[in-house]
Symmetry: C2
Subunit: 424 residues, 2 copies
Amino acid sequence: MADRSAQNLFIHNAAQVITPALSTSGPSPALALRVIEDGAVLIIDSKIAALGPTRDLKSDPRVQHVPQLNCTDCVVAPGFVDSHTHLVFAGTRQLEYEKRIQGTSYEEIAASGGGIQETVRQVRRTSEDSLLEAAKQRCREFLDHGTTTLEAKSGYGLDPDNEFKILRVVRRLREDSTLPVEIVSTFLGAHEIPEEFQKDRRGYVNLICSQMIPKVAQENLAEFCDVFCERTVFNLGESRQILLTARQHGLKLKLHADQLTRNGGAQLAVELNAISADHLECIEDRDVEALSHSNVVATLLPGATFHLGKGNYAPARKLIDSGARVALATDFNPGTSPTVNMQMVLSLACSQLHMSPAEAFAAATLGGAMALNRHGDRGSLDPGKAADLAIFDVPDYRLVPYHFGMNHVRAVIKDGQVLFDHWN
Amino acid sequence: MADRSAQNLFIHNAAQVITPALSTSGPSPALALRVIEDGAVLIIDSKIAALGPTRDLKSDPRVQHVPQLNCTDCVVAPGFVDSHTHLVFAGTRQLEYEKRIQGTSYEEIAASGGGIQETVRQVRRTSEDSLLEAAKQRCREFLDHGTTTLEAKSGYGLDPDNEFKILRVVRRLREDSTLPVEIVSTFLGAHEIPEEFQKDRRGYVNLICSQMIPKVAQENLAEFCDVFCERTVFNLGESRQILLTARQHGLKLKLHADQLTRNGGAQLAVELNAISADHLECIEDRDVEALSHSNVVATLLPGATFHLGKGNYAPARKLIDSGARVALATDFNPGTSPTVNMQMVLSLACSQLHMSPAEAFAAATLGGAMALNRHGDRGSLDPGKAADLAIFDVPDYRLVPYHFGMNHVRAVIKDGQVLFDHWN
């Protein structure tokens, strides 16, 4: 957690201050981006107090008494809210990456004991402290790239001891006062059928429902429950059973839906009123329609499609145009999306998904906050919200996705505190 | 230019030292990558003196007397040689980027006076000194991302005064002792038909051939001549005329070939024995065949395909498998590839072009050096070559493209001099 002493700051002369809003002026609610030229943000007591053109905010009497940060030629934005990451793991999977490049499919690698199972083997033999150290380093990299809130899933343990080990790591990250990133915890015991249950799928689903979920809820180890709903992983019926159990125990719901094949995951998310349905590469028009009439946040993870070398990006345009709520996230994980850089996800969203830079920024901030049920306090620069900001060293927000594959972050502010400023 | 005083350095304990080589063991010459585990590099008098396992090099008597750089958990590689950039320009084109995302094609934007013409208007009204300052800043960004040699084209002036203005900027960059990057100059007056010659194409081709090329050669303003050979730009006959004139004046040849349509550019490159044919997104099997039987370096620019949101990446696999010489470059420019990060180009090459990480590294170093006729002195860590190195903060070279959209460079060494080292 960040230093909780009250922080005051006047950010001014920014080329642009940008902030998303849920616009209700159209036929259905949509994320819009407000752009303030020569903008300023006033932070009082670690919260956004005011924002607007610099010339207007300068006359606010509170401005005289607070430290100042001149952001000439920079863009000031809400920090990214990365609502889908597999933060805690051991090992990297570059050998599998090389195999995929040579033509072996992700599904073939998984079927031969690679993929998620490979990371599970490594996590099981790694201590909690070692997992913690690696995850801390990754959190610092997320912050360096402008992410101030991120979700962290379990799912590389696949037995009670190891799933809880991962969730304890997430708890320790949340409680670490030297690590000023907001972390939201998700239980994903249903990430894969573990090797020891390959001939007893029902046994593993029962283990999740009867032992793991109750303990996760009782010990407050996670806020969300997620399932990898996929033909070759957990089918629709198993996914429903697990999610209903989680809901009964007070967990909020997420779903890996329709990534590799279309199997009804998005429809299940709508049926169960999940907070988010993630991936959606293979959804059909009827699924777009269902999502657009729901409050489920359609969370798009183009980094995975890119890294897997596939061309079937999720139908972002259809989702947005039909009025669905859209978030963007990294899907950071060692198999299919090994990047912490949300700016790269914006580039993918713009160049490959045909989202405008404004739509992409809104989806990566307020969209992500909605997907984590944090939109009351995070994801935009509305007065009263926590002062979580990323400051980019470009004079137009559109240049962040445009200059792709780079890190444009000059400074990050978390709860009003300047974590670093590469100019000072 | 870098500090020309003789530099000595012993780099050791690297997780891997990698260096490409032109292997002639197969049916046709191909780029291969040599990987030395726990490797070391000895630099004497700013040149590579030796490389090998740390335990072997430690006993070299010269090691005792030189500064040391411990590279535990890092990869040591030749600096990137980025053989295709449009380094010198004014303005950015994010509005055009937004239009393309919304569905307007690159060709439509060009036909309506946008695209290259927009940058030409901005370059013409920008002073030589302002262009120089902007280009210097970009050179520093290239160095920060591990590029130690880069090509710089003119092509945003399109009249003698402005083309020569750009080439003078390139010369001043080359002569700037504070800027330790190697720069190779290319004349690309034939980048587009300027607006004032739209009704007199022949007039512009004559201007290039009778005035611009002779002066470029006479004043030694460029080493290469390049042409954008494309149905809507310079056709095959015009391209041949310009390149033949350039050759007569002693310039080496490059060609923007078959990018947007297949129009015979690659075949022309082979016919004229050009040093490189660049882009090649639309080549057919007969063009692959022709290139594979030539010494023309097939220079692939996947950043442009990505940024344009197109799916037709160049057929890298066919080119490599048929024995063509392949280079990778950024195509850095404000319209179609606004990135300086060769690591991102590696990710594109691996994920989208199905090049192995080893092939991609070789193409981005020795391949680039071959495309600039610098392979005698740059592009690999062979003893006797200039000591240009990039050091990556990952323990396996495959992790550089794998962790996409990021900058893994920990340190850069140019002519034996440590330019920066983020660890020290």
